[in-house]
Structures are given as C-alpha cells and as structure tokens.
C-alpha cells in the first residue's frame, strides 16, 4: 500500500523532497477487549493504512450469557430478574416490553396507577442512562469535569428509583399485571395503595430541577467547547437510510433526522396523556447524537413531572391467576428504551414457560453499523463514534 506523503510534513522533513512516495504497509491494530471506551468488553480489530481505517471488525460475545436459552427453562415471573441485566444502565426499562408482551397474550388490563408508575420509572431510567452518557462521553474525549456534574445528579435519580423499587440498578419491580408494592408497603390492599414513598413528589421535583440544571451546565461546559466540537462535529455521519437499514434506533436514529419515537407510536404505556417533543438532529454526526440526548433529558424530566402530578389512584395489580400460564400465541412488543428499540418476540405454547423468547436489544443493532460507519475515518474517530452510540455490552451480547 502506498501513500503520497503530506506536503506539509514533507516540507518539514526536508525542503527539497516534496513528492516522495513512501511505502506504508497496512497494519492491524487490536483495541480492547479491555479498554475504557468500549463500555465493557468489546474488541475491535482495525485494519489501518497509516492512520486511516480500512476496515474494522468488532469482536463481541465476551458478555454472552445466553438469556434466550435461559428463558426457555424459567417461568415468566422469573424471567424479569434476567432481563434487568440486559442493559444494566437502564434496568427498569428492560422489564416493560416483556411484561406488556405477557399481558397482551393473557389479555390482562393493567391498572392506570401501575401504568403511571411504570412510565415514571422508565423515564427516570432514561434520565439516569443519558446522564451516564453525558458523564462518560466527554471523558472519553478528554474532558473530565462534566463527569462530576452528571454523576452527582444521577445519584439523585437513582435514589428516587431506589426509594420506590428498593434497587438502584436491578429493580425487578414489575409483576405481570402491574407493579410490586413499594418497599415498606403493607400487606393489605389499603396500605398498598400508598405505594410511592412519602415525599416522593417533592423529592422528584427537586431532582428534576437539578437534572435540568445539569443539562444547562452541559450546554455551557461541553456543547460549545471547541475541542469537543472539533472531535465530534461532522465526524462519523450516519445518514438516515443507512441507520434504518442497520436497525439503528433510539437517539442514534433521531440524531440522523428521523423523527421516530416509539413513545409516540406504540401504546405500551400511556405516553399519549403527556406532552413532550421528539428530539431530532440534522446531520447524524457524533455531535448531534450528543445533543439529542441532552435535550431528551429535559423532555423526560418534563414527562416525569406531568405524570407524577396527575398520577391516578387505584390498585397496583390487576387480578391475575396465581400460576402464570400464557395462552398459546405469539406477539412482538417493543418499547422506546433509553438506548433504542427494545423488543421481545414471545412464542407461548400455553404453558408456564415460554417456548421461545427472542430478545431484540437496541445496542446490538446500533453497534452493527460500526464497520460501515468507521470506514475511511481516523483512529481517534473510533473513540468518538463508540462513545456517541451509547451502547452497553450487556445489551449487545445478551
């Protein structure tokens, strides 16, 4: 492989030689599996020509736990504990589409209050997920300060989730037909109705104010930062048609200009009762993927406040049989998770365990565009793109 040497560099080396042909043999660079920017254990094998990327082959599977197989030996309530661990940054959100799929086959109507609690916690999970993104992404590009700001406020959000569910990362809080009474709830239906912890409204309001404030901090600290912009603006552009063909979803798809948000289209949770905007980018570059997430935090905080102020009263659980048996049938239920479209294709034969449960996780498809998107870019862009896709290896490997 040959390359014409950069005239500037050549002039620096020698004032005479300006058209030297240098032989630069191709090189294979191994990145990971242990690398801070790989969000877990992802290995990249990059074929390079100088600093240009000729081809990148992601090697995945280090986190493969075989959840689809394990689901075939577990009852439906037991699977909830598994799916929490798919995308552990937003564990709660993973439970929702599975619950809805089971409830759809069993034709269970979930009480309004339970739906509202699910919705609030899903949005809190989204905020928490995006705050992790806002802390890690600038860090990977060399800015350490935003991490402090974002993670500090994320702690408030995690405390809210913990206050309701008892768990920070793996709430395991949904039950088929509703949600579990909150930690400290009672055994009688009357006490159970007091499910959200005391002072939840005030605490949530305070936390949402802080979260919105940290978004403003991000705008002043990061969004206008020249180094950050130099690393992200116009880098690794993913056009809308490519994103769709690769199944790229969620904020990554919206950054490419596609105004598609399952919260507006599917009825897995009552999002139609609340006002919020679908945030889109224009260019589909790393900077847009960052900016979309900053704005989505604001929108999620808006939904949480609406939902919590108008939360309906009532039971937390629909009447369900003691032993969950799902009638024969198959369905696909998907939800707008923080990382994109998360869905479950559930095939039941009428028993207590699924016959087949296909898990469609967002990060898997989001990451699959990597070889295409990195072609022709330079090595530092690998880190810029990886960070901006906001994936988690548990969600890739399942």
């Amino acid at each position: 492989m040959s390359q014409t040497i950069d005239p500037m560099a050549a002039a620096h080396m020698s004032e005479v030689a300006v058209s030297v042909e240098l032989q630069t043999p191709g090189m294979t660079l191994n990145i990971g599996p242990q690398h801070p920017s790989t969000h877990g254990v992802l290995r990249l094998v990059a074929d390079l020509d100088g600093e240009r990327i000729v081809n990148v082959e992601p090697v995945i599977g280090y986190m493969h736990r075989g959840y689809e197989k394990l689901s075939e030996v577990r009852t439906y309530p037991q699977i909830t504990a598994l799916v929490n661990r798919i995308d552990w940054v937003s564990g709660f959100a993973n439970e929702i589409p599975l619950m809805v799929a089971v409830e759809r086959l069993m034709e269970i109507e979930v009480p309004e209050r339970a739906q509202a609690i699910r919705l609030i916690l899903t949005e809190l999970a989204r905020i928490s997920n995006h705050l992790v993104f806002l802390s890690s992404y600038p860090l990977e590009l060399g800015a350490a300060t935003p991490l402090m700001h974002a993670l500090r406020e994320r702690e408030h959000v995690l405390e809210l989730i913990e206050g309701v569910t008892g768990g920070r990362f793996h709430p395991n809080f949904n039950r088929i037909g509703g949600v579990k009474p909150a930690a400290g709830g009672g055994s009688t239906q009357k006490k159970v109705a007091q499910d959200l912890p005391k002072g939840f409204l005030a605490e949530t309001r305070a936390a949402m104010d802080k979260v919105v404030a940290v978004c403003d901090d991000m705008d002043t600290l990061v969004s206008g930062n020249e180094i950050f912009r130099a690393r992200t603006v116009g880098v690794a552009i993913v056009p809308a048609d490519k994103a769709l063909a690769y199944g790229v979803s969620g904020p990554n798809l919206r950054a490419s200009g596609v105004a598609f948000d399952l919260r507006k289209h599917e009825d897995y949770l009552p999002y139609d009762q609340y006002e919020f905007d679908v945030v889109t980018g224009e260019n589909g570059d790393c900077f847009d993927r960052y900016l979309v997430r900053v704005e989505e935090i604001r929108q999620a905080a808006r939904i949480v406040m609406q939902a919590i102020e108008g939360i309906p009263t009532g039971p937390l659980q629909a009447k369900v049989p003691r032993v969950i048996k799902v009638p024969r049938g198959e369905t696909y239920v998907r939800a707008e998770n923080p990382k994109g479209e998360m869905g479950y294709y559930l095939v039941s034969d009428g028993g207590r365990i699924p016959y087949r449960l296909k898990i469609r996780s967002a990060s898997y498809s989001n990451l699959s565009i990597l070889p295409w998107a990195l072609k022709g870019l330079i090595i530092p862009d690998i880190i810029a793109l990886l960070g901006s896709l906001d994936f988690v290896l548990g969600d890739v490997d399942r």
Partner: protein
C-alpha cells in the same frame, strides 16, 4: 425539534381499531409479497412466505409498504423433542421458522415476514443485500440454530468461540449446567401444586403475582429477596 406526527395511534382506541389496522396491514403485506398466509393475532402482523421467494418477499414488503426499518432477524426451532423446557402440547411439523421484523419509520406499522425451512436442508438466501443490518443477525441465527445463509459475506461465529460445537438455541441442545445440577428454581416450573390449594412453601417461593403477595411478604420483605434466594441456592 419536531413534535409527534398527527396519525398517533396510541390512545385512539383500545382493542378494535388496532386489531383492524393490524389485520389490514397484514393483508396488504401478504398481497405485495405473494404470501401463503397471514395473521394479525395479539397486535402483531405476520405473513408467511415460501423460502424460494424469501428475498423478493422481504424486499417488496419493505418497498411497497414503506417499512425501511430492520428490527431483527431470528428463528424458532419447532421441535417435538426438547432437551430443555416444556415440550409442545401438540405434534408439529419439524422445521425451523425464520422471522424478520420490518417496521415503519413514521407510523406504528410493523410486519413479521416468516418462512419455514426443513431441518435436513436448513438453508436460506441471505438478506444482506436488502438490509445491511441482517449481517450480524444472520450470523447469530447461523451459529445458534445451524441455518446456512447462502451468499452471506462472512458467516463466521459471532458470540461463540470458533471451537464451539453444536447449536445452542436448538431445542435438542441441552443446557449443560442444568444437566449436572438441577436448577433450584425448577420447583417453580415443575412441581407446582394445583392452582386451588397452592399454600405454603411452594406458593411463597414463586415471584408473587397478585394475591400471593400477602403470603410472600413475611418470607422476605426486602425487594432483593427473590434474587438473593436464587443466587444463594446456586452457590
């Protein structure tokens, strides 16, 4: 910054309108793909095509119905003999069913295109030329079910190591750790007392849906109770 499109189906109606549009969608997809049959059960439109028209069918559903989003590709092993889980109640024709889910980028429309392939000749042309995203999904289906996607540029193992033998998601593939030691949670799957008189230990060990909650409460009132139980028993 955009707001939601006007044709927001959520909340327009609960049951009937959704079912109708899903059925209409499935019928339209079936017509454009020349499908053998279609269904719209439980809000999911699905069409069944023959393996010989697989690529053309997927392509025409994508283009004619405007479903450019590649959601996933996977397979189901329809098997009368199972090494894990519960066997099917009725005997089925032994086959692999390959599914691909396409959806719209503007509405809630989505269609599952499926085809049956025989187990002794598990081959299907690749969809890589139709959807770039099919590349990884087909590699996964190939290593998990042993299906060959003809024309795939790089049909190597994705998750599993190169030395791995067998196809883990086949129903006849045993779950080895469970062969060695029965899983403690299995009591919930197998030796369940009848629904009417499920009292005491067995009922309490089930993750509590609904009424069972009252009985489960005294056993462990921390929310991590059932998780710890499973992991503790494993150790």
């Amino acid at each position: 910054m955009t707001t939601s499109p006007p044709d927001d189906p959520a909340g327009v109606g609960e049951q009937e309108p959704t079912t109708d549009t899903t059925a209409e969608l499935a019928a339209r997809a079936a017509e454009s793909a020349g499908a053998e049959s279609w269904s719209a059960d439980f809000g999911s439109a699905k069409i069944k095509v023959s393996p010989s028209s697989w690529v053309e069918a997927v392509r025409s559903v994508r283009d004619e119905l405007g479903l450019p989003f590649f959601s996933f590709l996977s397979a189901i092993d329809w098997s009368n003999e199972v090494a894990v889980g519960e066997p099917l109640e009725e005997t089925v024709e032994e086959r692999y069913e390959v599914l691909v889910r396409l959806s719209s980028d503007r509405t809630s429309d989505g269609v599952t295109v499926s085809t049956n392939i025989p187990k002794d000749d598990a081959r299907l042309p690749t969809l890589v030329d139709v959807f770039g995203g099919a590349n990884w999904h087909e590699r996964e289906a190939a290593e998990m079910f042993g299906i060959e996607f003809v024309g795939h540029p790089n049909l190597t193992k994705l998750y599993l190591t190169d030395e791995f033998e067998g196809y883990p998601l086949r129903k006849t593939f045993p779950l080895l750790s469970r062969e060695i030691k029965p899983w403690p949670g299995m009591v919930d799957v197998e030796d369940m007392p009848s629904t009417e008189n499920a009292e005491g230990a067995a009922a309490a060990s089930v993750a509590p849906p609904g009424d069972v909650q009252e009985q489960a409460m005294p056993q462990g009132d921390t929310t991590k109770g059932d998780e710890d139980g499973v992991e503790g028993a494993d150790a």
